[in-house]
Protein backbone atom coordinates (compact mmCIF):
# COMPACT_ATOMS: atom_id res chain seq x y z
CA UNK A 1 0.00 0.00 0.00
CA UNK A 2 2.63 2.50 1.06
CA UNK A 3 4.80 1.93 -1.99
CA UNK A 4 1.86 2.12 -4.37
CA UNK A 5 2.83 4.64 -7.09
CA UNK A 6 -0.70 6.08 -7.06
CA UNK A 7 -0.33 6.75 -3.32
CA UNK A 8 2.97 8.53 -3.90
CA UNK A 9 1.47 10.63 -6.66
CA UNK A 10 -1.48 11.64 -4.47
CA UNK A 11 0.83 12.42 -1.55
CA UNK A 12 3.01 14.64 -3.75
CA UNK A 13 0.04 16.45 -5.26
CA UNK A 14 -1.45 16.93 -1.79
CA UNK A 15 1.81 18.28 -0.36
CA UNK A 16 2.54 20.58 -3.28
CA UNK A 17 0.87 23.85 -2.18
CA UNK A 18 2.47 23.75 1.28
CA UNK A 19 5.86 22.66 -0.04
CA UNK A 20 6.07 25.15 -2.91
CA UNK A 21 4.68 27.83 -0.60
CA UNK A 22 7.45 27.22 1.95
CA UNK A 23 10.13 27.05 -0.76
CA UNK A 24 8.87 30.33 -2.17
CA UNK A 25 9.37 31.88 1.27
CA UNK A 26 12.97 30.55 1.44
CA UNK A 27 14.05 31.54 -2.05
CA UNK A 28 11.72 34.45 -2.86
CA UNK A 29 11.72 33.29 -6.47
CA UNK A 30 8.82 31.36 -7.96
CA UNK A 31 10.83 29.56 -10.65
CA UNK A 32 13.51 28.49 -8.19
CA UNK A 33 10.84 27.29 -5.73
CA UNK A 34 9.17 25.23 -8.43
CA UNK A 35 12.48 23.77 -9.60
CA UNK A 36 13.40 22.88 -6.02
CA UNK A 37 10.07 21.13 -5.55
CA UNK A 38 10.51 19.31 -8.85
CA UNK A 39 13.91 18.05 -7.77
CA UNK A 40 12.49 16.90 -4.44
CA UNK A 41 9.72 15.03 -6.25
CA UNK A 42 12.21 13.22 -8.45
CA UNK A 43 14.07 12.08 -5.34
CA UNK A 44 10.80 11.09 -3.67
CA UNK A 45 9.84 8.93 -6.65
CA UNK A 46 13.23 7.26 -6.39
CA UNK A 47 13.41 6.83 -2.62
CA UNK A 48 9.87 6.41 -1.32
CA UNK A 49 9.07 3.14 -3.13
CA UNK A 50 12.07 1.46 -1.44
CA UNK A 51 12.12 3.13 1.95
CA UNK A 52 8.42 3.79 2.32
CA UNK A 53 6.93 7.28 2.47
CA UNK A 54 8.03 9.71 5.17
CA UNK A 55 5.74 10.55 8.08
CA UNK A 56 5.18 14.06 6.80
CA UNK A 57 5.57 14.18 3.00
CA UNK A 58 5.34 17.99 2.83
CA UNK A 59 8.12 18.46 5.38
CA UNK A 60 10.30 15.94 3.56
CA UNK A 61 9.77 17.62 0.21
CA UNK A 62 10.52 21.08 1.65
CA UNK A 63 13.75 19.92 3.30
CA UNK A 64 15.03 17.97 0.30
CA UNK A 65 13.91 20.65 -2.16
CA UNK A 66 15.59 23.38 -0.19
CA UNK A 67 18.90 21.53 0.03
CA UNK A 68 18.82 20.69 -3.67
CA UNK A 69 18.17 24.30 -4.63
CA UNK A 70 20.92 25.53 -2.31
CA UNK A 71 23.34 23.18 -4.08
CA UNK A 72 22.35 24.69 -7.41
CA UNK A 73 22.82 28.21 -6.06
CA UNK A 74 26.24 27.32 -4.63
CA UNK A 75 27.36 25.77 -7.90
CA UNK A 76 26.22 28.82 -9.81
CA UNK A 77 27.97 31.14 -7.39
CA UNK A 78 31.36 29.77 -8.52
CA UNK A 79 30.88 31.31 -11.97
CA UNK A 80 28.51 34.10 -11.11
CA UNK A 81 28.47 36.47 -8.18
CA UNK A 82 27.59 35.07 -4.77
CA UNK A 83 23.84 34.93 -4.11
CA UNK A 84 22.49 37.74 -2.05
CA UNK A 85 22.32 36.27 1.46
CA UNK A 86 19.37 38.49 2.28
CA UNK A 87 17.44 36.95 -0.58
CA UNK A 88 17.62 33.53 1.05
CA UNK A 89 15.75 33.81 4.30
CA UNK A 90 15.65 31.39 7.22
CA UNK A 91 19.17 30.08 6.71
CA UNK A 92 20.15 30.97 10.25
CA UNK A 93 17.79 28.48 11.80
CA UNK A 94 18.84 25.33 9.94
CA UNK A 95 19.47 23.63 13.26
CA UNK A 96 16.03 24.17 14.76
CA UNK A 97 13.87 21.08 14.48
CA UNK A 98 12.02 21.00 11.21
CA UNK A 99 8.67 20.47 12.87
CA UNK A 100 8.98 23.74 14.74
CA UNK A 101 9.34 25.71 11.54
CA UNK A 102 6.51 23.92 9.81
CA UNK A 103 3.74 24.77 12.19
CA UNK A 104 0.33 25.38 10.70
CA UNK A 105 0.37 29.14 11.17
CA UNK A 106 3.34 29.38 8.87
CA UNK A 107 1.79 27.06 6.33
CA UNK A 108 -1.24 29.31 6.47
CA UNK A 109 0.65 32.34 5.22
CA UNK A 110 2.89 30.30 2.89
CA UNK A 111 -0.01 28.71 1.05
CA UNK A 112 -2.01 31.91 1.05
CA UNK A 113 0.97 33.81 -0.40
CA UNK A 114 1.50 31.17 -3.08
CA UNK A 115 -2.17 31.23 -4.03
CA UNK A 116 -2.37 35.01 -3.85
CA UNK A 117 0.64 35.28 -6.14
CA UNK A 118 -1.46 33.59 -8.81
CA UNK A 119 -4.50 35.82 -8.45
CA UNK A 120 -3.14 39.34 -8.32
CA UNK A 121 -5.86 41.65 -9.63
CA UNK A 122 -3.52 42.80 -12.38
CA UNK A 123 -3.77 39.34 -13.97
CA UNK A 124 -6.66 38.46 -16.27
CA UNK A 125 -9.10 35.85 -14.96
CA UNK A 126 -7.93 33.16 -17.37
CA UNK A 127 -4.29 33.86 -16.44
CA UNK A 128 -5.19 33.42 -12.78
CA UNK A 129 -6.82 30.08 -13.47
CA UNK A 130 -3.96 28.79 -15.60
CA UNK A 131 -1.32 29.91 -13.09
CA UNK A 132 -3.20 28.40 -10.15
CA UNK A 133 -3.51 25.09 -11.98
CA UNK A 134 0.19 25.05 -12.82
CA UNK A 135 1.76 26.52 -9.69
CA UNK A 136 -0.65 25.55 -6.89
CA UNK A 137 -2.50 22.48 -8.12
CA UNK A 138 0.60 21.17 -9.92
CA UNK A 139 -1.01 20.17 -13.22
CA UNK A 140 1.48 19.74 -16.06
CA UNK A 141 1.51 22.24 -18.93
CA UNK A 142 0.26 19.42 -21.18
CA UNK A 143 -2.70 18.75 -18.88
CA UNK A 144 -3.66 22.44 -18.74
CA UNK A 145 -3.24 22.80 -22.52
CA UNK A 146 -5.59 19.85 -23.00
CA UNK A 147 -8.16 21.38 -20.64
CA UNK A 148 -8.10 24.68 -22.55
CA UNK A 149 -7.92 23.07 -25.99
CA UNK A 150 -4.73 24.86 -27.00
CA UNK A 151 -1.31 23.55 -27.98
CA UNK A 152 1.29 22.89 -25.31
CA UNK A 153 3.57 25.54 -26.79
CA UNK A 154 0.81 28.14 -26.65
CA UNK A 155 0.03 27.26 -23.04
CA UNK A 156 3.71 27.29 -22.09
CA UNK A 157 3.99 30.81 -23.53
CA UNK A 158 0.86 31.95 -21.71
CA UNK A 159 2.24 30.69 -18.39
CA UNK A 160 5.67 32.18 -18.98
CA UNK A 161 4.11 35.56 -19.78
CA UNK A 162 1.98 35.50 -16.64
CA UNK A 163 5.00 34.55 -14.52
CA UNK A 164 6.99 37.40 -16.01
CA UNK A 165 4.19 39.77 -14.97
CA UNK A 166 4.34 38.38 -11.44
CA UNK A 167 8.10 38.85 -11.33
CA UNK A 168 7.63 42.50 -12.32
CA UNK A 169 4.89 43.06 -9.72
CA UNK A 170 6.93 41.34 -7.02
CA UNK A 171 5.70 38.81 -4.49
CA UNK A 172 4.47 40.16 -1.15
CA UNK A 173 6.67 38.59 1.54
CA UNK A 174 5.75 40.67 4.55
CA UNK A 175 3.49 38.82 7.00
CA UNK A 176 0.01 40.16 6.27
CA UNK A 177 -1.98 41.90 8.97
CA UNK A 178 -5.60 40.85 9.54
CA UNK A 179 -7.03 43.18 6.89
CA UNK A 180 -4.47 42.18 4.28
CA UNK A 181 -5.00 38.52 5.14
CA UNK A 182 -8.77 38.87 4.73
CA UNK A 183 -8.27 40.61 1.36
CA UNK A 184 -5.91 37.89 0.17
CA UNK A 185 -8.30 35.22 1.34
CA UNK A 186 -11.16 36.81 -0.62
CA UNK A 187 -9.03 37.06 -3.77
CA UNK A 188 -7.89 33.46 -3.39
CA UNK A 189 -11.44 32.22 -2.83
CA UNK A 190 -12.55 34.00 -6.01
CA UNK A 191 -9.66 32.44 -7.93
CA UNK A 192 -10.54 28.94 -6.70
CA UNK A 193 -14.14 29.48 -7.77
CA UNK A 194 -12.90 30.60 -11.20
CA UNK A 195 -10.99 27.32 -11.53
CA UNK A 196 -14.14 25.47 -10.50
CA UNK A 197 -16.27 27.26 -13.06
CA UNK A 198 -13.82 26.46 -15.84
CA UNK A 199 -14.49 22.81 -15.10
CA UNK A 200 -18.18 23.17 -14.34
CA UNK A 201 -19.21 24.18 -17.84
CA UNK A 202 -17.43 21.19 -19.39
CA UNK A 203 -19.34 18.04 -20.32
CA UNK A 204 -18.95 14.92 -18.21
CA UNK A 205 -15.86 12.98 -19.19
CA UNK A 206 -14.35 16.06 -20.81
CA UNK A 207 -10.83 16.69 -19.65
CA UNK A 208 -11.75 20.10 -18.31
CA UNK A 209 -14.30 18.62 -15.92
CA UNK A 210 -11.41 17.46 -13.73
CA UNK A 211 -10.67 21.07 -12.87
CA UNK A 212 -13.67 20.87 -10.50
CA UNK A 213 -11.85 18.22 -8.46
CA UNK A 214 -8.73 20.39 -8.37
CA UNK A 215 -10.75 23.39 -7.22
CA UNK A 216 -12.44 21.35 -4.48
CA UNK A 217 -9.05 20.07 -3.33
CA UNK A 218 -7.79 23.66 -3.06
CA UNK A 219 -10.97 24.65 -1.23
CA UNK A 220 -10.53 21.89 1.34
CA UNK A 221 -6.89 22.86 1.80
CA UNK A 222 -7.80 26.51 2.33
CA UNK A 223 -10.43 25.49 4.84
CA UNK A 224 -8.04 23.32 6.79
CA UNK A 225 -5.69 26.30 7.05
CA UNK A 226 -8.49 28.73 7.94
CA UNK A 227 -10.93 26.50 9.82
CA UNK A 228 -13.10 29.29 11.25
CA UNK A 229 -13.81 31.36 8.12
CA UNK A 230 -17.48 30.92 7.20
CA UNK A 231 -16.99 32.14 3.62
CA UNK A 232 -14.25 29.56 3.03
CA UNK A 233 -16.63 26.87 4.32
CA UNK A 234 -19.30 28.35 2.05
CA UNK A 235 -17.03 28.25 -0.99
CA UNK A 236 -16.07 24.61 -0.46
CA UNK A 237 -19.69 23.70 0.26
CA UNK A 238 -20.89 25.49 -2.88
CA UNK A 239 -18.41 23.63 -5.07
CA UNK A 240 -19.24 20.26 -3.49
CA UNK A 241 -23.00 20.76 -3.79
CA UNK A 242 -22.74 21.79 -7.45
CA UNK A 243 -20.18 19.18 -8.40
CA UNK A 244 -22.34 16.46 -6.79
CA UNK A 245 -24.75 16.83 -9.73
CA UNK A 246 -22.02 16.49 -12.33
CA UNK A 247 -22.76 12.98 -13.60
CA UNK A 248 -26.43 13.92 -14.13
CA UNK A 249 -25.83 17.24 -15.88
CA UNK A 250 -25.06 15.92 -19.38
CA UNK A 251 -26.54 13.19 -21.53
CA UNK A 252 -24.53 10.68 -23.55
CA UNK A 253 -24.26 13.13 -26.42
CA UNK A 254 -22.79 15.76 -24.07
CA UNK A 255 -25.96 17.88 -24.07
CA UNK A 256 -27.03 19.78 -20.95
CA UNK A 257 -29.76 18.23 -18.83
CA UNK A 258 -31.60 20.87 -16.82
CA UNK A 259 -31.84 20.50 -13.06
CA UNK A 260 -35.51 19.54 -13.17
CA UNK A 261 -34.87 16.79 -15.74
CA UNK A 262 -31.81 15.27 -14.06
CA UNK A 263 -31.74 11.70 -12.75
CA UNK A 264 -31.30 12.53 -9.07
CA UNK A 265 -30.16 8.97 -8.42
CA UNK A 266 -26.94 9.90 -10.19
CA UNK A 267 -26.16 12.74 -7.83
CA UNK A 268 -23.15 12.03 -5.64
CA UNK A 269 -24.55 11.58 -2.12
CA UNK A 270 -21.15 11.68 -0.44
CA UNK A 271 -20.33 15.10 -1.90
CA UNK A 272 -23.81 16.32 -0.97
CA UNK A 273 -23.40 15.13 2.63
CA UNK A 274 -20.07 16.94 2.91
CA UNK A 275 -21.50 20.09 1.31
CA UNK A 276 -24.54 20.13 3.59
CA UNK A 277 -22.38 19.65 6.69
CA UNK A 278 -20.17 22.56 5.67
CA UNK A 279 -23.12 24.82 4.83
CA UNK A 280 -24.60 24.19 8.27
CA UNK A 281 -21.30 24.85 9.96
CA UNK A 282 -20.89 28.10 8.06
CA UNK A 283 -24.39 29.42 8.70
CA UNK A 284 -23.97 28.88 12.46
CA UNK A 285 -21.57 31.83 12.41
CA UNK A 286 -24.41 34.18 11.45
CA UNK A 287 -22.04 36.08 9.19
CA UNK A 288 -23.61 35.44 5.79
CA UNK A 289 -21.59 36.02 2.64
CA UNK A 290 -22.14 35.36 -1.06
CA UNK A 291 -20.57 31.89 -1.09
CA UNK A 292 -22.58 30.77 1.93
CA UNK A 293 -25.85 32.01 0.45
CA UNK A 294 -25.13 30.35 -2.88
CA UNK A 295 -24.23 27.15 -1.03
CA UNK A 296 -27.51 27.34 0.90
CA UNK A 297 -29.38 27.67 -2.42
CA UNK A 298 -27.51 24.72 -3.92
CA UNK A 299 -28.25 22.78 -0.72
CA UNK A 300 -32.00 23.34 -1.14
CA UNK A 301 -31.80 21.93 -4.68
CA UNK A 302 -29.71 18.96 -3.56
CA UNK A 303 -32.05 18.18 -0.66
CA UNK A 304 -35.15 17.97 -2.88
CA UNK A 305 -35.94 14.33 -3.69
CA UNK A 306 -37.92 15.43 -6.78
CA UNK A 307 -38.10 18.80 -8.58
CA UNK A 308 -41.59 19.30 -7.11
CA UNK A 309 -40.10 19.08 -3.58
CA UNK A 310 -37.84 22.09 -4.22
CA UNK A 311 -38.42 24.89 -1.73
CA UNK A 312 -38.60 27.69 -4.33
CA UNK A 313 -39.99 30.20 -1.84
CA UNK A 314 -36.88 29.79 0.34
CA UNK A 315 -34.63 29.96 -2.72
CA UNK A 316 -36.35 33.21 -3.74
CA UNK A 317 -35.64 34.62 -0.26
CA UNK A 318 -32.00 33.53 -0.37
CA UNK A 319 -31.51 35.17 -3.77
CA UNK A 320 -33.03 38.29 -2.20
CA UNK A 321 -30.28 38.18 0.46
CA UNK A 322 -27.67 37.61 -2.23
CA UNK A 323 -29.00 40.61 -4.20
CA UNK A 324 -28.40 42.77 -1.14
CA UNK A 325 -24.93 41.34 -0.40
CA UNK A 326 -23.74 41.34 -3.97
CA UNK A 327 -26.09 43.28 -6.26
CA UNK A 328 -25.76 42.01 -9.82
CA UNK A 329 -28.15 41.57 -12.75
CA UNK A 330 -27.10 37.91 -12.99
CA UNK A 331 -28.26 37.32 -9.40
CA UNK A 332 -31.59 38.99 -10.20
CA UNK A 333 -31.89 36.78 -13.27
CA UNK A 334 -31.39 33.70 -11.11
CA UNK A 335 -33.89 35.03 -8.62
CA UNK A 336 -36.39 35.42 -11.46
CA UNK A 337 -36.09 31.70 -12.19
CA UNK A 338 -37.01 30.93 -8.56
CA UNK A 339 -39.82 33.49 -8.73
CA UNK A 340 -41.23 31.84 -11.86
CA UNK A 341 -41.60 28.63 -9.84
CA UNK A 342 -42.95 30.16 -6.64
CA UNK A 343 -44.99 33.10 -7.97
CA UNK A 344 -45.41 32.30 -11.66
CA UNK A 345 -43.89 33.34 -15.01
CA UNK A 346 -45.57 36.75 -15.14
CA UNK A 347 -43.89 38.06 -11.97
CA UNK A 348 -40.60 36.55 -13.14
CA UNK A 349 -40.79 38.16 -16.57
CA UNK A 350 -41.40 41.56 -14.98
CA UNK A 351 -38.12 41.11 -13.05
CA UNK A 352 -36.26 39.95 -16.13
CA UNK A 353 -37.43 42.75 -18.42
CA UNK A 354 -35.62 45.29 -16.28
CA UNK A 355 -32.30 43.57 -16.95
CA UNK A 356 -32.25 43.96 -20.73
CA UNK A 357 -29.77 46.84 -20.74
CA UNK A 358 -27.09 45.20 -18.64
CA UNK A 359 -27.52 41.61 -19.85
CA UNK A 360 -28.16 42.13 -23.58
CA UNK A 361 -24.98 40.19 -24.39
CA UNK A 362 -25.58 37.37 -21.89
CA UNK A 363 -26.60 33.94 -23.13
CA UNK A 364 -28.63 32.95 -20.07
CA UNK A 365 -30.61 36.21 -20.04
CA UNK A 366 -32.09 35.43 -23.46
CA UNK A 367 -32.50 31.76 -22.60
CA UNK A 368 -34.43 32.47 -19.37
CA UNK A 369 -36.46 35.26 -21.01
CA UNK A 370 -37.34 32.97 -23.92
CA UNK A 371 -38.44 30.26 -21.51
CA UNK A 372 -40.69 32.66 -19.57
CA UNK A 373 -42.26 34.07 -22.76
CA UNK A 374 -42.87 30.53 -23.93
CA UNK A 375 -44.57 29.62 -20.64
CA UNK A 376 -46.83 32.67 -21.12
CA UNK A 377 -47.73 31.46 -24.62
CA UNK A 378 -45.92 34.34 -26.36
CA UNK A 379 -44.27 32.04 -28.87
CA UNK A 380 -43.07 34.56 -31.45
CA UNK A 381 -41.28 36.63 -28.83
CA UNK A 382 -39.93 33.46 -27.25
CA UNK A 383 -38.48 32.42 -30.56
CA UNK A 384 -36.78 35.79 -31.03
CA UNK A 385 -35.28 35.53 -27.53
CA UNK A 386 -34.01 32.00 -28.14
CA UNK A 387 -32.54 33.20 -31.44
CA UNK A 388 -30.49 35.78 -29.54
CA UNK A 389 -29.44 33.15 -26.99
CA UNK A 390 -28.37 30.85 -29.81
CA UNK A 391 -26.07 33.53 -31.22
CA UNK A 392 -24.50 34.05 -27.78
CA UNK A 393 -24.01 30.38 -26.80
CA UNK A 394 -20.59 29.74 -25.27
CA UNK A 395 -20.42 25.99 -25.80
CA UNK A 396 -21.80 23.48 -28.29
CA UNK A 397 -23.92 22.01 -25.49
CA UNK A 398 -25.54 25.38 -24.80
CA UNK A 399 -26.25 25.94 -28.48
CA UNK A 400 -27.82 22.55 -29.02
CA UNK A 401 -29.93 22.99 -25.88
CA UNK A 402 -31.43 26.19 -27.33
CA UNK A 403 -31.74 24.52 -30.73
CA UNK A 404 -33.93 21.84 -29.11
CA UNK A 405 -36.16 24.57 -27.61
CA UNK A 406 -36.49 26.25 -30.99
CA UNK A 407 -37.44 22.97 -32.64
CA UNK A 408 -40.11 22.28 -30.05
CA UNK A 409 -41.43 25.84 -30.36
CA UNK A 410 -41.64 25.46 -34.11
CA UNK A 411 -43.51 22.17 -33.79
CA UNK A 412 -45.92 23.76 -31.33
CA UNK A 413 -46.47 26.75 -33.59
CA UNK A 414 -47.17 24.49 -36.58
CA UNK A 415 -49.59 22.40 -34.55
CA UNK A 416 -51.38 25.61 -33.56
CA UNK A 417 -51.50 26.68 -37.19
CA UNK A 418 -49.26 29.71 -36.68
CA UNK A 419 -46.86 30.73 -39.43
CA UNK A 420 -43.65 32.70 -39.59
Amino acid sequence: MTTDPAWIENAIVGARPRAVGALLRYFRDLDLAEEAFQEACLRALRLWPEKGPPRDPAAWLIMVGRNAALDVLRRKSRDVALPDEAAISDLDDVETPLAERLDESRFQDDVLRLMFTCCRPELMAVQQVVLALRVVAGLTVAQIARAFLVSETAMEQRITRAKRQIAVMGIPFETPDDTARAERLAAVAAMIYLVFNEGYSAADGAYRARLCDDAIRLGRLLQRLFPAEPEVMGLTALMLLQHARHAARFDDAGEIILLEDQDRGRWNRKLIAEGLALTEKALRHRAPGPYQIQAAIAALHDKAATPADTDWGQIDLLYGVLERLQPSPVVTLNRAVAVSKSRGPEAALAMVEGLGDSLAGYFHFHGVRGGLLWQLGRRLQARAAFGKAMALANTAAEASHIRAHLDRLKAEAEAAGETG
Partner: protein, 126 residues
Protein backbone atom coordinates in the same frame (compact mmCIF):
# COMPACT_ATOMS: atom_id res chain seq x y z
CA UNK B 1 -14.67 -9.33 23.77
CA UNK B 2 -15.55 -6.41 21.55
CA UNK B 3 -12.80 -4.48 19.83
CA UNK B 4 -12.97 -1.30 17.82
CA UNK B 5 -10.53 -0.84 14.99
CA UNK B 6 -9.95 2.87 14.51
CA UNK B 7 -8.86 3.90 11.03
CA UNK B 8 -6.11 6.50 10.58
CA UNK B 9 -4.75 7.69 7.26
CA UNK B 10 -3.81 10.92 5.49
CA UNK B 11 -7.06 12.48 4.48
CA UNK B 12 -5.42 14.62 1.78
CA UNK B 13 -4.57 11.41 0.02
CA UNK B 14 -7.72 9.42 0.73
CA UNK B 15 -10.05 12.22 -0.31
CA UNK B 16 -8.07 12.74 -3.52
CA UNK B 17 -8.68 9.18 -4.66
CA UNK B 18 -10.21 9.00 -8.12
CA UNK B 19 -13.51 7.16 -8.43
CA UNK B 20 -11.63 4.14 -9.80
CA UNK B 21 -9.12 4.12 -6.93
CA UNK B 22 -11.95 4.50 -4.44
CA UNK B 23 -13.94 1.67 -6.01
CA UNK B 24 -10.89 -0.60 -6.03
CA UNK B 25 -10.20 -0.04 -2.32
CA UNK B 26 -13.85 -0.52 -1.38
CA UNK B 27 -14.00 -3.74 -3.41
CA UNK B 28 -10.88 -5.10 -1.67
CA UNK B 29 -12.33 -4.19 1.73
CA UNK B 30 -15.71 -5.76 0.90
CA UNK B 31 -13.91 -9.00 0.05
CA UNK B 32 -12.29 -9.07 3.47
CA UNK B 33 -15.48 -8.03 5.25
CA UNK B 34 -17.85 -10.58 3.64
CA UNK B 35 -16.67 -13.68 5.56
CA UNK B 36 -16.41 -11.62 8.78
CA UNK B 37 -20.02 -10.53 8.38
CA UNK B 38 -21.09 -14.11 7.56
CA UNK B 39 -19.37 -15.48 10.66
CA UNK B 40 -20.97 -12.84 12.88
CA UNK B 41 -17.71 -11.12 13.77
CA UNK B 42 -18.41 -7.79 12.12
CA UNK B 43 -20.28 -5.15 14.08
CA UNK B 44 -21.24 -1.72 12.77
CA UNK B 45 -18.67 0.19 10.74
CA UNK B 46 -18.62 3.68 9.45
CA UNK B 47 -16.65 6.15 7.43
CA UNK B 48 -16.38 9.77 8.46
CA UNK B 49 -16.54 12.87 6.28
CA UNK B 50 -13.26 14.86 6.14
CA UNK B 51 -12.07 16.81 9.19
CA UNK B 52 -13.03 20.04 7.40
CA UNK B 53 -16.64 19.19 8.32
CA UNK B 54 -15.79 18.73 12.00
CA UNK B 55 -16.87 20.93 14.91
CA UNK B 56 -15.30 20.58 18.35
CA UNK B 57 -17.03 21.17 21.66
CA UNK B 58 -14.53 21.99 24.40
CA UNK B 59 -16.00 20.75 27.68
CA UNK B 60 -14.98 23.83 29.64
CA UNK B 61 -16.39 24.49 33.09
CA UNK B 62 -18.98 27.09 32.15
CA UNK B 63 -20.74 27.01 28.80
CA UNK B 64 -18.88 24.57 26.56
CA UNK B 65 -16.90 26.29 23.82
CA UNK B 66 -17.77 25.46 20.20
CA UNK B 67 -14.76 25.56 17.86
CA UNK B 68 -14.60 25.00 14.10
CA UNK B 69 -12.40 22.15 13.00
CA UNK B 70 -11.32 18.77 14.32
CA UNK B 71 -10.01 17.97 17.79
CA UNK B 72 -6.33 18.71 17.44
CA UNK B 73 -4.78 18.33 20.91
CA UNK B 74 -2.40 15.48 21.57
CA UNK B 75 -2.61 15.54 25.36
CA UNK B 76 -6.00 13.85 25.51
CA UNK B 77 -6.62 10.35 24.22
CA UNK B 78 -9.57 8.89 22.32
CA UNK B 79 -11.69 7.11 24.92
CA UNK B 80 -14.90 6.28 23.11
CA UNK B 81 -17.58 7.52 20.78
CA UNK B 82 -21.32 7.90 20.25
CA UNK B 83 -23.33 7.67 17.06
CA UNK B 84 -26.42 9.91 17.20
CA UNK B 85 -29.21 10.18 14.63
CA UNK B 86 -30.11 13.88 14.44
CA UNK B 87 -31.61 16.43 12.05
CA UNK B 88 -28.62 18.76 11.96
CA UNK B 89 -25.43 19.98 13.61
CA UNK B 90 -27.44 22.11 16.04
CA UNK B 91 -29.22 19.04 17.45
CA UNK B 92 -25.96 17.09 17.63
CA UNK B 93 -24.39 19.98 19.55
CA UNK B 94 -27.36 20.05 21.94
CA UNK B 95 -26.82 16.39 22.77
CA UNK B 96 -23.08 16.92 23.13
CA UNK B 97 -23.76 19.77 25.56
CA UNK B 98 -25.97 17.51 27.69
CA UNK B 99 -23.31 14.82 27.72
CA UNK B 100 -20.68 17.42 28.58
CA UNK B 101 -22.76 18.54 31.52
CA UNK B 102 -22.77 15.00 32.87
CA UNK B 103 -19.07 14.46 32.27
CA UNK B 104 -17.02 17.69 32.13
CA UNK B 105 -13.41 17.93 30.94
CA UNK B 106 -11.88 17.02 27.60
CA UNK B 107 -13.69 17.58 24.34
CA UNK B 108 -16.14 16.10 21.88
CA UNK B 109 -15.44 16.23 18.16
CA UNK B 110 -18.64 16.15 16.11
CA UNK B 111 -18.09 14.74 12.66
CA UNK B 112 -20.77 13.80 10.13
CA UNK B 113 -20.79 10.19 8.94
CA UNK B 114 -20.25 9.55 5.23
CA UNK B 115 -21.09 5.86 5.14
CA UNK B 116 -22.76 3.72 7.80
CA UNK B 117 -23.02 -0.06 7.86
CA UNK B 118 -25.41 -1.12 10.59
CA UNK B 119 -24.67 -4.09 12.84
CA UNK B 120 -25.16 -7.22 10.70
CA UNK B 121 -24.83 -9.65 13.60
CA UNK B 122 -27.93 -11.69 14.48
CA UNK B 123 -27.51 -11.18 18.20
CA UNK B 124 -25.31 -8.14 18.72
CA UNK B 125 -23.38 -8.67 21.94
CA UNK B 126 -22.80 -5.63 24.15
Amino acid sequence: MLYTILCYHEEDVVWSWSEEQEAAVMARLAEVQAPLIASGKMGPSLRLLPTTTATTLRKTKDAPLVIDGPFAETKEQLLGFYVVDVADLEEALAIARQLAGANPGGAYELRPVALYNADARADPAP
